[in-house]
Each structure stands twice: as structure tokens, then as C-alpha cells.
Amino acid sequence: MKLTNRPRRTHAEEEEKPRLVSPGHAARSAVPRWLQGLLTPLLPAALLTWWVTGTVTGSIPQRVLPGPFEIWEAIQRLTENGEILRHLRASLARAGAGLFTGGIAGCLLGLVTGLSTLGNRLIDPLIQAIRTIPPLALLSLFILWFGVGEAPKVALIALGAAFPLYINTVGGIRAVDTRLLEAAKTYGVKPRRRIISIVLPQTLPSIFSGIRLAASISIMLLVAAEQVSTAGLGFLLLQGQSYFDTAQVIVVLLVYALLGMLVDLLVRFAERLALPWTGRETRR
């Protein structure tokens, strides 16, 4: 094609050329920004209004959903004599003990499986087999074994926390960039040092997401384990249920939600501290 034969561009053609867009904003939604800002609190606000008006006018029965005033009363009643704190402490002690022991055990077993082929052969099949049993179903067995004290509850939580940490540790080790290990090998780094300075740091992000998963699972199992106890959030929940005290049930649910959020925040914070090399600017 000869360049000279090309007709000169007309003004109209100039305007038809594709518009330039900024990269990374291509997927921006068609909804304008100000409307988006309004959309986010829309549903919660509607729900809140429905709750307040429904309970005040009496169209929502007390037993289904108590009003704001009743909830406030329940909060006051539960906090007044520090009762809820006592229950919270009992629950946290159980969850903490279970999470800690189970987490450490899962992590250690994961390290053995991930780092040695022998461990992989020996441990992994058994753990995979046990994992097929739902942890909640094991509560009965644990009660038969350990009685109704603290032991079965902590054991249940420990078991539930161990699996995600085991799986994430093994997965993290398997995903380590072997090319880095190779480079370290040519530079004469001994196997043990390679594990400490390359494998473990590379596995940490995966371990942290395992911790987050384990934390939420342990809170979940806490509810079930505390159905047979005299203290703890699960006990408060059951008490509210048996006295038809819906307000108390709802307050306990709120505490669970707060607890979950707090734990997640804490783990994220610890993660940021422990993994400084995955800063925001380097995260994909």
C-alpha cells in the first residue's frame, strides 16, 4: 500500500478514533459514584427501619424479634454484674486453648508431611481419613471419653482447628518456588537453612490464612461444645432459648459476630507484622 494514496483524514474521522481509557478502570461499573455511595447503606437502613417500626407498632411479635428497648435491657442485664464477661472469658479460654493446641499440632503435622516424603506416606492418609468425619459428630465420642468437663470441648475445638492448619501448611510448602531452592542450593545453602530461610517464610502466608480459617471454625465449634456446660456464650444462648428470652439470644449472637470480626482483625494485623515483604504495593 502506498502512503501517498491514503486520503487525508477528515475531521469526522478524527473524532471516531477509539477513546483512550485508563487501565485498571476498565471494569468500573456503569452506576455513578454518588449512587453507589447511597446503595451500600440502603439495605441495612431499610432493615433497621423495618425492625424499629415493626417492633414499636407490634406487627413483629416480641418472641420473634424484640425491639431496641428490650435488646438494650438485655445488654444492661447481662453486663451489669459482669455476667457476660464471665461467660465470654470461659468461652475465650476454651477456644484459645483448642485453637492453640490444635493449631500447633496441625502445623507441626503439616510440616512433617510437607517436608519429608516419609511423613507424607505415614501421616497424610490417616489424617485425610479422619478428616472425613464431621467434627461435631465426634462430640459424643469425646464426651464418652472425657466426661462433661472442659476436656471434650477443648478437644473438639482443637481437632477442628488442626485440619485447616494442616492442609494450609502442606499446601504452602508444596507451593514454594523450587527455583529459589535450586538457587540457594547452588550457593551452598545447607538443607536445614534452606527450610528456615526460604521454605518457612514462603509458607507463612498460607499458614496465616489457615489460622484465620481455624479461628472461625473454633468459634463455630464453641457454640456446639458449650451446649453442655454451665458457663460460656453457648450456655447463655441455650439459657435464652429455654426461657424464651429472644433478646438474650440476640445479644449473644451479636457478641459472636463481634468476636469473629475482632479475631479476624487480629490475625490480619499479625500477618502484616509477620510478612513485611508482602506490602500493599507488592500485592497483586
Binding site: A183, A184, T186, Y187, V189, P201, W277, G279, E281, T282
Partner: protein, 276 residues
Amino acid sequence: MTPVHPNSGHTDQPVVEGAVDPSDAAVSLRGVSQSFGNRSVLDDVHLTIPTGQFVALLGRSGSGKTALLRILSGLDPASAGEVRVAQRRTMVFQEPRLIPSQRVWRNVLLGLNARSRRTDALACLAEVGLADHADDWPALLSGGEAQRVALARALIREPQLLLLDEPFAALDALTRVSMHRLIRRLCALHGPATLLVTHDVDEAIALADRVLVLADSRIGLDLRLDPALDRSQGSSQQVAIRRTLLHALGADEQTDLPLASTQTELERHRGEPSPP
């Protein structure tokens, strides 16, 4: 006098006139073969590299250059043949391979004993022009910067054999030229045998004492370059060697001549000869 001492024999006789005493060699390969499955990548390779020699290794993609370097570095065993290499050797890979969880200066000290100090790392980083980045995380470096850190990591150990697998591929033309100077200077200073894998014929001519071309699983060409050679881009000697190498690589004569690399262009603009 011809500037070139082409290997008169074939791969069976790679050691040309004036060959050094093998005990002084950094690399000695006898009948080395490498195959993956039933695919032969290297076949009966003989190679001796004396201490202090700078060797460039050319070859098309997939010709087995990396495979050869992996054998020399001790990462892969050869499937046949005798491999003898200097004890202290370091390798710069095609990718930087820095450890993301360690700061740049820590990466430079990788594998050195605990007594090695930060000041040593800083001095070495300064040599590759990265003193300011000593405390950065590797993920924040540009590709070329990361590759230079990898180079510093290889140089700080003062190896007897330096294996470089296309270390300059990610660098811009200017940085490349300064890296060439740096490498030549450091090699002259510490005198390691250097084996540089490259795709760039001009780079090979500019830097090397000797150029090998890997083709059909063998060292198809083994060229000694006279130290007195006029290596400036476009000189008659340079062009002649260039043609020989491209021919050995199997490049088509018609298409190869206009293919001047960016480095070539740059040097021509600055009227500067390549480092001898």
C-alpha cells in the same frame, strides 16, 4: 594475521593449539551427554575452559545451553560422560531468583557464613549501581535491578567459575553496556573462568575471549578471539566473525545482516567502541 583461530577439528578435538594444562582448568568435560526421556539435548560434548578465560556460549532457543550450565553448576547430573569443575562456582540464572522474604543486601549474602557483613554487601551492590536499594524488598525492584542484584550475589563470592545464563536479557541497552564493562573488569580483577550464555552475537564478540556455538546437541563451533582483535562494531574483523557465528547458528544470511541489536545502534550513535 587472521584474528580468529577457528577450531580446526570437530567437537572431538575442542582443545586447540596452546591449550592449557588441564589441571589449571576451571571446566573439563569429556564426552558429556544429557538426555531427557529419549530426547537427547547434549551429545558427547568435550570442553575445557582454562582459569580466567571468558567464554560466550551461543545457541538457539532450546539448544541445551541452560542444560549445560545446570550440569556445570551441579544442579543436574549428566546422563553420561565425565564432568570436572572448579569448586567455587556461582550461577546467575535466566531469572533473578531472589528470595522475596529477605532484603536486597541479605540476598547478596545468601549462602555466605555468618561472619560476612553488611558492608561487604553494600560495596558489592555499589559496584552494580544499586547501593540505594540495599534495604528494599526484592519485589519492589525492576526486572533489570533484580538481575543486577543476582549478579552482585554471584560476584561477592569471588568464584573460580562464573556461570551466567543470559543475565543481561532484561537490561536496557545503556545498562547492558555498563554491565559489560563491569563484568569484564571484575573478571580481569578476580580472574574467574566465565561462561556467559547469550542470544546476542554482538555481545559475545564484544566480551569473550572465546565463543562457542551449541548446535545439534554438540559444540558446533569453537572460536578463539584474538585479544588484539578490533571489536568495534562494524569493523571488518567484527563483521567477519559475526557472519561466521550467525552461520554456525543457522541464521539465514539474507535476513541476519540488517538485524543490528539495540546495543549496536547505541554504540554507533555514541561513536564508542565496545569494551575490549
